[in-house]
């Protein structure tokens, strides 16, 4: 199994959870100009479980419209199609994996960290004038490779958790040592499989090592947001560890101290409500 590479891994995951077709259609449509919103809304509404969860989420205060969203059409009118898409994506992804039986993997901590990163990335993106909806999605999915590995290959990845605990090193280093690849590669392939935008796939693949760029990128946003939520110690993990920070990415975002304070506070305040809404 140690010779397995990331592509082989994903090729073997034939039962990789599919996102609801209506959401997949929506994600694809949002990458085009000619979006037939009404038809998409009807299709989404037919998936009652997804709609119920998305509406519960849409009524969270962090969307700023608490209690006013009662239907998918309301959500489109009040939130806009892009914010609705973030709510649907969170609802769909949260329900797509069974609880992994993998020693060392803590699903509750995983979701708290992912949700915190989504909220923080959204706040950072708004601060630096990048797309907050894409940032939320990329933050939510940045570690999806870890969940996919734990859910589908617990016996393969469990030694990496043990190695990480033994040496007290970042999980990515442990994965690379034990598996020969890491969760960023698997996560990017999962996101491609789910038809997420290329910038989201890139952010997942490079969130530990943002590429050189002249201006700030979505990957920079997710990288810094990931660092922030580790530093805020939000996942309820005993051996939490803040990973290395790319000074280039940090410099490109150029967050001031007061902007950081607002981002920290907003992330902490919104996290519990978001987790409650998704029943995580």
């Amino acid at each position: 199994m140690s010779e397995m590479d990331a592509k082989t891994m994903v090729a073997r995951v034939r039962d990789l959870p599919a996102l609801p077709q209506a959401l997949t259609d929506l994600l694809v449509a949002l990458q085009r100009e000619d979006v037939a919103i009404d038809q998409l809304a009807i299709r989404i509404s037919r998936d009652q479980a997804l709609t119920a969860k998305a509406l519960r989420l849409a009524n969270c205060s962090f969307y700023g419209v608490a209690g006013r969203v009662n239907s998918i059409h309301d959500a489109i009118n009040v939130l806009g199609i892009r914010s609705l898409t973030t709510a649907l994506t969170a609802a769909a992804v949260a329900g797509s994996f069974k609880r992994p039986d993998c020693p060392g993997f803590d699903l509750d901590a995983y979701w708290r960290h992912s949700m915190a990163c989504a909220l923080c990335a959204q706040a950072v993106a708004q601060t630096v004038n990048l797309d907050p909806g894409l940032a939320f999605t990329a933050g939510l999915l940045h570690d999806i490779g870890r969940l996919a590995l734990a859910a589908h290959f617990p016996a393969v990845v469990a030694p990496a958790f043990a190695y990480r605990a033994k040496l007290d090193i970042p999980m990515r280093d442990a994965e690379r040592h034990v598996l020969g690849f890491d969760h960023t590669e698997v996560g990017a392939l999962v996101a491609q499989h789910w038809h997420f935008a290329g910038t989201v796939v890139d952010a997942i693949r490079c969130h530990h090592e943002p590429l050189d760029s002249i201006k700030a990128t979505l990957t920079d946003v997710v990288h810094v947001a990931d660092n922030i939520v580790h530093a805020l110690d939000l996942a309820n993990v005993t051996d939490e560890l803040v990973p290395p920070l790319s000074l280039e990415a940090w410099t490109r975002l150029a967050l001031t101290e007061s902007q950081c304070m607002r981002i920290f506070e907003r992330t902490e305040v919104e996290l519990d409500e978001l987790c409650d809404a998704l029943a995580l």
């Binding site: 140690s2 190695y163 033994k166 040496l167 007290d168 090193i169 970042p170 280093d173 690379r176 040592h177 034990v178 020969g180 660092n227 922030i228 580790h230 530093a231 805020l232 110690d233 005993t238 051996d239 939490e240 560890l241 803040v242 990973p243 290395p244 920070l245 000074l247 940090w250 101290e257 007061s258 950081c260 304070m261 920290f264 506070e265």
Partner: protein, 64 residues
């Protein structure tokens, strides 16, 4: 003791030898030592992490 896992970087990750590190107990979440401890990876790398000062100021509530 500082673990020598930096030796892993830049090599075939599976070629590096496993380095035993004595377990250091994690400070509890409400401990005053907890925040600095979270940044132990940067301490080991001997680099300053820009977020440490910002989060310390945020926790102290004394940001300007």
């Amino acid at each position: 003791m500082i673990p020598d896992h930096q030796a892993l970087r830049g090599k075939d990750p599976r070629s590096a030898s496993l380095v035993e590190v004595p377990a250091t107990p994690a400070p509890s979440k409400d401990s005053s030592e907890r925040l600095e401890w979270l940044f132990r990876e940067s301490v080991r790398r001997q680099v300053i992490h820009p977020l440490l000062g910002r989060v310390r100021a945020y926790r102290a509530g004394d940001a300007t």
